[in-house]
Amino acid sequence: MTKKPVIGFAGMTHLGLNSAVAGAEKGFHIMCFDQNAELISELQSGKTNINEPDLSEMLNTNSERLEFTSSKEDLKKCNIVYISLDVPTNDKGASDLTPVNNMIELVNNSISGEALLVVLCQVPPGFTRSINRNPARLYYQVETLIFGRAMERALHPERYIIGCAEPSSPVHPLFSRFLEAYSCPILPMRYESAELAKTAINLFLAASVCTANSLAEICEKIGADWEEIIPSLRLDKRIGQHAYIKPGLGLSGGNIERDLKTVSQIGYENGAKVNIPMAYVEHSKYRKKWSIRKFFEHYDNPSEDFKICVLGLAYKENTHSIKNSPAVDLIEAMPDIEINAYDPVVKNIDSAKKLKFHNSSESAIKGADILFVMTPWNEFKELDWQKALISMRGEVLIDPYRLISHDITADYEHIVLGEG
C-alpha cells in the first residue's frame, strides 16, 4: 500500500482551515501554512474566528496531526501541498488572482520537485495549465465549500473533481491515497474541464435560486404561496430533494457571483452568447432589494424618532460573512433613522448610518417601528417571538424567511417571501 502522504495547506482561510482539519480527522498529518504569523499563533493555541459547526471541536481533537507554521521551509516536509487561498472579488464579482499567483510562486519555489501541487482555489478555466510546474506534479481540485456547512462538506464530499494534465493517466498514487480516504467517487478530467465544472455547478445553483426567486415574486403578486409549491418540485426527480428552491434575497457570499462573472467574461471574449448568466446577476440585484422596497412601502409619515430593528447581518446562517449581504444593503439604503441591529456572530460593520449594535434580539427589537429578520439563524427560529414582539412599537414585521409563525402575527402586518 502506498505510504500515507503528508499534506500541506497553504493559506489558512475559511477553505484552507476547514479542509486541513478534515484531512487531520481522516488521519493524515497536515501542515498548515500561512504567512500571517499572528494567525498561525492563534491557531496553534486552538483558536479560530471562523464560525463553522464542529470546526473548533475538531481543531482541538486533531491537534496532534495539525502542524501550524508560518515558515515556508516546513512545506518541504509535504508530499502534497494544496493552494487554499480565498480569491477576493470586487463588487462586480471579478476575481483578483494576485494573492493566489504569489502563493503559488512561493510554494513552487519551496517544495521539492517530487511533491504535488494542487490548486484548490476558485480560478478561471485555463489558469492551472499556465502554472510553471511539471504537469505530472500539478493538479486542480474543485472545492465545493458551503459556508455554514464547511466541515460536513469537507468530511463527506459528494465526489472529487480533479483537473489533470493527462486525464487518461492514473492519478498519482500519493494523491489517490489521500482522496480515497474520503470514500467518494473521483472524477479525473483535463484542467480546463475541472475548472469549468466548478463554474458549471455554481451556474446550475444560480439558475435554481433565481428561478425560485422569480416564481416566489409571482406568488407574492397573485396570492399564491411558494412554500406550498416547493414539495411538488422536490418530488420531481429532474429537480430533486436538495435543489436550491427556497426563496431568498438573491445571490450572496460572492462565489456564485464570481462564476457568473467568469462565464460572462469568457463568453464575451470568445464570442459565445451569455445573456442567461447575466440575467441571473440582474435578477439577483433586483431581488436583493426586496426588503428595501418593503421598507419604503411602509415608510409613510414617519415619526421623528422612527426606528427599525435588523436581526441578522450575515449573508446566511452559521457564517460570519457579510459579503453581498442583503442586510448590509438594507442598512446602507436607510434614511437618517435609528437602526438597532443584532446578529449572533457579526458584531460590527463599517457603516456611516445611525447603527447601534445590541447583545440580544430582545434588546434590539425594543421600541422598533419596523422589524426585519434578515438571516435565518436558528437562534431566531427558536426565539420566543410572542414575548419579544411585545416591546415593539410598530406593527410591521418583514420576515423574508418566515421565522415568525403566522399564528402569532394576526395583529401585525407580517410580510414574508413568496406569499401573496
Binding site: I292, R293, F296, E297, Y299, D300, P335
Partner: protein, 279 residues
Amino acid sequence: MNKVIVFGASGFVGQTFVRILDKENCEYIAHSSKTIDLTSPDSVEKIATTTKDGDAIIMLSALTPGKDESDRIAVNNLLMIRNIISGIKDRNIARFIYISSDAVYPLTSDIIDEETIPKPMNLYGYSHLIREKFLEEYISPEKLAILRPCAIYGKNDTHNAYGIMRFIRSAQESGDISLFGGGEEYRDHIHVDDLADIIFASYKQKTTGIFNVATGKSFRFIEIAELIKSSIDKEITISFKPRAVPIFHRHVNMCKLWANFPSHKPRLIDAGIMELLER
C-alpha cells in the same frame, strides 16, 4: 446667493416648480418660449448673458408628442439642448437638472429601474435619450441629475394625453370615459406636485445621477377609470373602443428614488385622484 435658471417655466411642471422656488424665496430666472426660443441660434448668447458661475439650471423645456410632427419634435428638442450647452460652456454652473422621460425605456421591458437599458420606441423618446447623452458629454457627473418621470398628472395639465387628466375632464364634461380595448394596461402616474418637489429636493440635496420618478404602484387604466367614476357625483359611463396599439404594461422599481429622497415619497395614484376630485 446664486440663482436658479428654469427653462420651460410656463409649462405644466415648470409652473408648479416655480411656485416652490417662490415659496422657498429662491432667486431665479423663469424662461419660457415667450422669453427665449431655445431652438434659435440667438438663444446661445442670451443664455450666456444671463447665466453666471454658480447658477443652477433646471431644464424642463421639451416639445411633446401630439403638438407637432415627430421628426420636427425630435430635431427641435435636440437643438434646444445643444444651444443651452453652447450658452453655458464658459460658465462654471453649480448644478444641471434635466427632466427627461420614461419614454427612453423599451415598451416591452419587465419592471424597469435605472439600470434598465434604454431603448426608445419613438423619436420623442430618442430625443430625450440623446439629450441625456449630450449632457453626459458636456456636464460633469458631479453636477448632473437626470430625472425620468412617468406620465404626469395634475390640475393644470394642458397635454390631454390618454390617462388620468383626460379621463377626469371627459367624465366631468361629457359623463363618459373612453378606454382603448378593455383598459387592461398597467401604468404608473406621478402627481405634478410630487415631481416638482423631487426636482427641488434634487437641487437642494445636490443629488446626482439618473432617477426614475414614479410612485412604484401601477394601476390599470380601467382601475383608474373606475376610481374616477366612483369619485364623481354624477352618472359616468365607461366605454370601450378598439385598441390602436398592442397592450404594454409599465411597472417601475422605485428603490433608488425612495432611498435618495426618503422624505419625498410620491403619493399613490388613488390618493392623487381623490385629492384632485376633492378640490
